[in-house]
């Protein structure tokens, strides 16, 4: 009994770990190192902003339904917002990825930041793909019938059936966005916890605080 009381509870472990690695000053900072004053550091948050527009316009599409966004002009507009915010999401994400690649931003124990970014990239491709499959037009019919042979040839066609509209729409509006959301949240929290990586030449002196 007494041994049980001495054992630390998971709540207190979590609290201590959180306070140590991500105190509120790190979570909501009001200053950044001088080297962050460059346009290239804006592409992460630009990607995040585009994701916000994707989710908001996607919610409107879901509530209004296919007959609305295929036939009414406001529906076309919101449908286009959804499509174009996805285009810009990917454009910003790729520039962000290039920037972080050439900064070697995985230095200083930031590997998990890089990995969660890469997972967000792969997951976003899957989400965009299922989005193309549920347009309910001839485009989506064409894409699914071309894609099914590919998935069947690698043996996953029975689990992931691209011609199954019900499966694809649920993956697109429920499962995959949640996965992207959780990965993105972890990604951004990791950036906050570790701080922005110093430039390569500043590595030795600035990274004295390397943890």
């Amino acid at each position: 009994m007494s041994a049980d009381i001495e054992k630390e509870m998971w709540t207190s472990k979590l609290r201590k770990g959180w306070q140590k690695n991500l105190p509120i000053e790190k979570l909501l900072p009001d200053t950044q190192p001088a080297y962050v004053a460059s346009w290239i550091y804006l592409f992460g948050v630009a990607t995040l902003a585009a994701l916000g527009v994707i989710v908001a316009s996607g919610l409107v599409l879901s509530f209004e339904g296919a007959s609305w966004y295929h036939y009414s002009s406001v529906g076309h507009f919101v449908n286009s917002m959804h499509f174009w915010s996805v285009q810009f999401f990917f454009i910003f994400m790729v520039v962000h990825l290039w920037g972080k690649f050439w900064m070697a931003a995985w230095r200083g124990r930031r590997l998990l930041t890089w990995i969660t970014g890469a997972l967000a990239f792969v997951g976003s491709i899957a989400t965009a793909f299922t989005g193309y499959l549920i347009q309910t037009n001839f485009d989506s019919q064409w894409i699914s019938y071309e894609a099914k042979d590919g998935f069947n040839s690698v043996g996953i066609g029975s689990r992931f059936n691209v011609t199954n509209f019900g499966q694809m729409i649920l993956l697109h509006v429920a499962f995959l966005p949640v996965i992207i959301g959780v990965i993105t949240l972890i990604h951004v929290l990791l950036v906050r916890a570790k701080g922005v990586v110093p430039p390569i030449d500043a590595f030795n002196n600035e990274l004295g605080e390397r943890k």
Partner: protein
Amino acid sequence: MGIFHHFMNLKAVYIHWGWFQISITNLLVILFMLVLFGLALVLPFPGNKKGKDQK
């Protein structure tokens, strides 16, 4: 409904170079990303006066 609407409904135009094939649209998107990346590196960031003073 305007040039843009017309353009969006055209069949994709592809260019070939030996085994290499790409649609003009995809090529434009890639070039746009490269230009954006280049500009982000060279354009001065507004309000970066402190950084200049320190140098």
